[in-house]
Symmetry: C2
Subunit: 350 residues, 2 copies
């Protein structure tokens, strides 16, 4: 079947470009001796995770226990879960996972560490834990090297935990200084930092600039999207992921309506770009509004305009959340359907 | 099991409130002799659609053929699909549906009508079609009563289609004038308007003000959300749908991080309200940013602040898109889990 026979809206992945994106980042990280630990939250598809591992990744990154469970079922054996896991039920699932995969987690508080320690003790396991630090993002993470040291030493004091290092998202210009300061404090206590896990796709080609970073977690790079193109991390013709949609209405001379709305494209915007995606065939068109199953397109800047029934290709603003809207992603090779992948870990929010 | 034992993030529905919302709108529409044709896009759950029908709805509204297929499989027999259906594959599925359910569709162009007519001819069916008109929303729909009349007459000329009326979203102050003008034009051709289908939840208690409207399509009213509360269509303590989340990090005195991000709450904003949802236990807190699995909360305006591990209840901005992020919704009665409903039609985008 050809791509133009697929019913829309549909998420398609060009398999050659997908493979090229996987190989390109792997080669770069290999060259700089940085471990590649791709984040599977972007695709949530075991087959793509296996492609990443086969290319040379040292393991994967997952953001939810449920994602880890799906990937474990698919035979993947090395995972990092950079998330504060709290609560009896989740801690129990985490421990069950440690029976079948090599798993490390992160923490940014004594509360999280205490829970992990108690669960690991009950399990009789030894769980590797990284301290998350904040390099200015303003999300999770301890705020200072001293706080990081205090938490690291607290982990060291737990019998069933092993302090293995630190992590941040994304890697940035503050990363090295933070880690160096932390290393100095910890050295007084005879504690070493084995792993410094950095991350991000927008900054991926700069990963070698952060000398302390030992492994890199990138997600979006496998697909690419408008945001990644806009920051120059990927060229538009390297993007492997698109949404195909159909023009279902042309109510006025300057308006088209697509069969892709917020339940397909999501309401995520792209920094530095207007609208809810770029229509490749009509780059002057603007997807200026979404309702749940309709994309509203302003054609006033277009010389040529699409007709009712015409199919278009959308470069999405943010591929991770758009991939997450689909139950399946269709893999294409030179425009021919080669594989249909269930988005196995989507909707598994715990 | 009690709600506080559920792993987070989780979507919960208070069954008593759900039932009350269904009964309240039904009673109002009954009182004004307006047909109730609720839109199931909000919940995508057959059991809730059956509750709506049992309360007195004349049928349901669906937005996708796949939604119609799921509801048909669940035994629902009367549906309106207010969408321009285009393309061979979709038209064939539409016709297959007409074999087992009473189904009407909308159209706003001759292209759509011609496709419907050809498909109905091949099927040997007679498909009811409503003309969609635009009352100022700027989405789909013909622009003038004359255009509506031309399209209605085009439908009338098709052997296998039946012109049954018109539809708009939402019903508003332009609806009556548009329909009256159209009726006058069509009267000259001996064509009657049987059905005038209006819609919307924000305006639902005003449905009786639009005298031409014979049936009303509301979706959000079963659950309610921050948007519906903000426009005064539902009280906050009538909202049946919430997301339960957990505080997973407190990196600074004024910041909390929740385990609900854009893959849970979506990036939809609520008109007239800031942030990505309202935390009921901390109404002065502001969910001011989302990443995929983290909600960033500014606590600077809060006197009392949540601790790590504490669970919170989120009134979401837009329940339709949030419900759509979950594979399951948990039905609670007085805080006790009574039922777990698969969101049967979610992710079915065609």
């Amino acid at each position: 079947m050809r791509a133009d026979q697929l019913e829309t809206p549909v998420a398609v992945v060009d398999l050659d470009r997908l493979n090229a994106n996987i190989e390109r980042l792997q080669a770069y990280l290999n060259q700089h001796r940085i471990g590649n630990r791709p984040h599977i939250k972007t695709h949530k598809i075991p087959a793509i995770a296996h492609m990443q591992l086969n290319a040379g990744a040292i393991g994967i990154t997952v953001q939810k226990i449920a994602e880890a469970e799906v990937m474990a079922d698919a035979g993947i054996r090395d995972m990092f879960l950079p998330y504060n896991i709290l609560g009896q039920a989740k801690l129990e699932r985490l421990m069950h996972l440690t029976r079948r995969v090599s798993l490390s987690v992160s923490a940014d508080s004594q509360t999280t560490v205490a829970g992990l320690a108690a669960a690991a003790r009950r399990e009789g396991a030894c769980l590797p834990v990284l301290v998350e630090f904040d390099t200015g993002t303003g999300r999770c993470g301890v705020q200072t090297p001293q706080e990081a040291a205090d938490l690291a030493l607290y982990i060291v004091r737990q019998d069933n935990l092993r302090f293995t290092g630190v992590m941040a998202y994304p890697s940035n210009e503050n990363t090295d200084a933070f880690v160096a300061a932390l290393r100095e404090i910890l050295a007084h206590h005879g504690v070493a930092i084995e792993v410094v896990s950095g991350g991000g796709s927008p900054n991926m080609w700069n990963a070698h600039a952060y000398k302390e970073v030992t492994e890199h977690r990138a997600g979006t790079y496998v697909y690419g999207d408008r945001s990644l193109v806009n920051v120059g991390a990927l060229k538009q013709d390297e993007v492997s992921f698109h949404v195909l949609a159909t023009v279902v209405s042309r109510p006025t001379a300057d308006r088209a309506i697509l069969d892709a709305g917020s339940k397909t494209l999501t309401s995520d915007k792209s920094r530095g770009a207007e609208g809810y995606g770029l229509i490749l065939e009509y780059p002057d068109a603007m997807i200026n509004n979404l309702s749940e199953e309709h994309g509203w397109v302003d054609l006033s800047a277009c010389r040529r305009k699409p007709e009712i029934g015409e199919r278009v290709t959308i470069l999405v603003n943010h591929c991770c959340v758009v991939n997450n809207m689909f139950n399946e992603v269709v893999g294409l090779r030179r425009g021919e359907v080669e594989v249909v992948w269930p988005v196995a870990a989507r909707g598994l929010l715990t």
